[in-house]
């Protein structure tokens, strides 16, 4: 289930603020697994499955991905762009990108001025093969957003492709919808995480859960010359303790540690030096919501070759199995 869903989800288009296609895909996959599905004002998709305990548990995986927004079409038909989320201009050069309507383009840069390593987003353009402004404007409008075109490949248990951040979290959340849970279960596929965790707070406000667990990717320190980090692929999902947006509270930490022990799964402990996830904004919603995060280790985040180990994602599902069953 995880692998099939991951393939479908990574193939679905959905940059921040333009999540309708990935939301449609998620709706299709979640519909048989829940009682109710709704989309809120910011575009968060919320799947609900009632329980009997009278308590509410929220899972949250962001469904959006980073992209490039068209800001201008020049007379030759080239598109100029601005960043939606953390696109590294250097990693975008010589990559193919796709628009919502399936149109493909190639990203290149003003090569005369700079070396590729020096390129800024202002130096990038997208070539969609149009011969002139009119032809381009017939296919794409200012405000449209392109995402990396990078279909998922699998070798052994390793998955590589674009948008694994955070479709792998979405796939885990979908699997969680099949697990037994005595509580009202809300699975939020949040919008606009990549532009500043904007969707999750309003979603959490509407739900008011007793506990929230975010599902997202985390960088690893296991490839050559990586920044220091104890996180590695294949050693299990990670218990987030700290990142730029949140310090996970001791009661939530303990609950998750106990659940991992109950599920008998190996896990890693994550102290992330920068970056943030939906966890932070959820924890500060309303009068405060106890919030934790299960991280799936991922190499080369925000590139078209994000790489995860499916075993880690499977571990996350087992871990959630134990968390969902615990009393709140």
């Amino acid at each position: 289930m995880l692998e099939t869903n991951l393939k479908l989800l990574t193939a679905a288009y959905g940059p921040s603020g333009r999540e309708e296609r990935v939301r449609t895909m998620l709706t299709r996959l979640a519909e048989p697994l829940c009682k109710e599905l709704r989309t809120d004002a910011l575009g968060n998709l919320i799947a609900f499955r009632p329980g009997s305990s009278g308590k509410k548990l929220m899972l949250c995986a962001h469904m959006d991905q980073i992209g490039l927004m068209v800001t201008d079409i020049d007379e030759k038909g080239f598109l100029r762009v601005a960043r939606v989320g953390g696109v590294n201009p250097v990693l975008a050069i010589a990559r193919r990108v796709a628009f919502a309507n399936g149109l493909l383009g190639t990203v290149y840069f003003d090569a005369r001025k700079k070396k590729p390593g020096e390129a800024q987003v202002e130096d990038l353009f997208i070539d969609i093969g149009a011969q002139g402004r009119e032809e381009a404007a017939a296919q794409v409008s200012i405000g449209d957003v392109a995402v990396f075109y990078s279909p998922l490949t699998l070798q052994g248990s390793r998955a590589t492709g674009g948008a694994l951040d955070n479709r792998v979290g979405c796939a885990v959340a979908l699997s969680a919808l099949t697990l037994p849970c005595p509580h009202d279960l809300y699975v939020v596929f949040s919008a606009q995480e990549e532009v500043g965790t904007r969707g999750a707070g309003p979603a959490a406000y509407g739900i008011g859960p007793d506990l929230a667990i975010a599902l997202d990717v985390t960088p690893t320190g296991d490839c050559p010359k990586a920044p220091r980090s104890v996180i590695a692929l294949g050693k299990g999902p990670a218990l987030k303790l700290l990142d730029g947006s949140v310090v996970v509270s001791a009661p939530v930490r303990r609950r998750m540690e106990e659940a991992a022990a109950a599920a008998g799964i190996p896990y890693q402990r994550e102290v992330l030096t920068a970056g943030g996830t939906d966890t932070g904004v959820i924890s500060r919603t309303g009068g405060g919501i106890p919030a934790g995060c299960i991280s799936i280790p991922c190499r080369y985040i925000h590139s078209p070759v994000e790489t995860c180990d499916l075993k880690d994602a499977e571990g996350a599902v087992k871990w959630l199995g134990a968390i969902l069953e615990e009393e709140l």
Binding site: L241, E270, V271, R284
Partner: protein
């Protein structure tokens, strides 16, 4: 319990931003010891209320402290550090610290390569997180005790009484003022003020302001006063610091001018000398976070000068803490009748 004892216990209780359980328990104990109705909210902030009638006044001092976490444990048992919030890695080399492990606190020393062994550099470079190693003396056996994510605090040495009523220890930011607020509540129990005074020992001021954001949304107070420390220090930092013994009424533009006036009136009534301080927003305090919550809250800020902020040798003045109590008490006693409502109207 006298104030020194109060502050000693508060300062020693572990409570790094986001992980305030230890200090929260201490604040709850002190409130309950005074017979005050006390509770904790979902964000972890601790509250105590005195008075059941009149305007609801939120008095907020944060209970969290700056601190670090273990980022990795090396093969030889030495540990790598990362900041949770507010710590300057340059002051750590040679410091005694405390690792809060699953089996209890474990003392350790922060070490770094001595300057004369730093290769290829002409002048000694300031230490960064990458340079620091935490040594428990246990060698490789430390791997059994210390886990990634364990919290590390400054070492809780007992407070040091300095000359002229000045006091030094760790985490007087903001537990010194918090101690004064607890004393104030004790006095209000004896001699009630015409309002509902709710003390909030808030969480996460040093990182995200979570307590300042969440508490007022629940309480919806009529007025809020945040109490924090500000800088006292060397004379060359002109107009950014204040004398150690003189409390500061903050008049930053984003604070409510009516509340500022009420605080100034209270100080005059109590015969307390004060200074004014001002910035655009009072950012870096709970006052900044409180004001825009729950549809807008009339918010003020009182500050107690402090030297050597965020080190293990913070210095505060007992006289300033006395004055803080006096001003707040006069402020609360002045809230009788309806005149405070008029004072909080915008007079355009």
């Amino acid at each position: 319990m006298d104030r020194l004892e109060r502050i000693r216990r508060l300062s020693a209780a572990p409570g790094v931003t986001g992980l305030e359980e230890g200090v929260a328990a201490e604040v709850l104990r002190q409130l309950q010891g005074l017979g005050i109705r006390a509770w904790q909210d979902k964000a972890g902030s601790v509250f105590g209320q005195v008075g059941e009638e009149g305007p609801l006044v939120l008095l907020m001092a944060h209970m969290d402290e700056i601190g670090m976490a273990i980022q990795a444990v090396e093969e030889n048992g030495m540990a790598r550090l990362w900041k949770v919030a507010g710590v300057d890695p340059r002051v750590l080399a040679g410091s005694r610290l405390l690792i809060h492990t699953k089996d209890g606190p474990l003392p350790a020393v922060a070490g770094a390569l001595p300057p004369h062994l730093q290769r290829g550099e002409e002048a000694p470079r300031a230490y960064a997180w990458e340079d620091l190693l935490l040594d428990t003396g246990l060698g490789p056996a430390a791997k059994e005790r210390v886990q990634v994510g364990d919290v590390v605090t400054l070492y809780p040495h007992a407070p040091l009484a300095l000359l002229d009523g000045r006091l030094s220890c760790k985490t007087l930011d903001d537990r010194g003022p918090l101690g004064a607020l607890l004393d104030l509540l004790a006095r209000l129990c004896q001699n009630p003020a015409p309002c509902r005074a709710v003390l909030c020992a808030s969480v996460q001021e040093e990182k995200t302001g979570a307590g300042g954001l969440t508490a007022p949304r629940q309480l919806r107070p009529d007025v809020a006063i945040a109490v924090d420390v500000c800088h006292s220090g060397p004379p060359e930092t002109e107009f950014r610091t204040h004398p150690l013994d003189t409390i500061v009424i903050n008049r930053s533009l984003c604070l409510h001018p009516g509340v500022v006036n009420l605080l100034e009136t209270a100080a005059k009534k109590a015969g307390v000398e004060y200074e004014l301080g001002a910035g655009m927003t009072a950012s870096g305090t709970d006052a900044f976070h409180i004001a825009p919550q729950a549809g807008g809250i009339a918010t003020g800020l009182l500050e107690v000068p402090l030297r050597y902020m965020h080190t293990s040798a913070e210095v505060i003045s007992a006289r300033a803490l006395d004055d803080l109590e006096k001003v707040l008490e006069a402020f609360l006693r002045g809230l009788a009748g309806e005149s405070w409502k008029e004072a909080l109207c915008w007079k355009d």
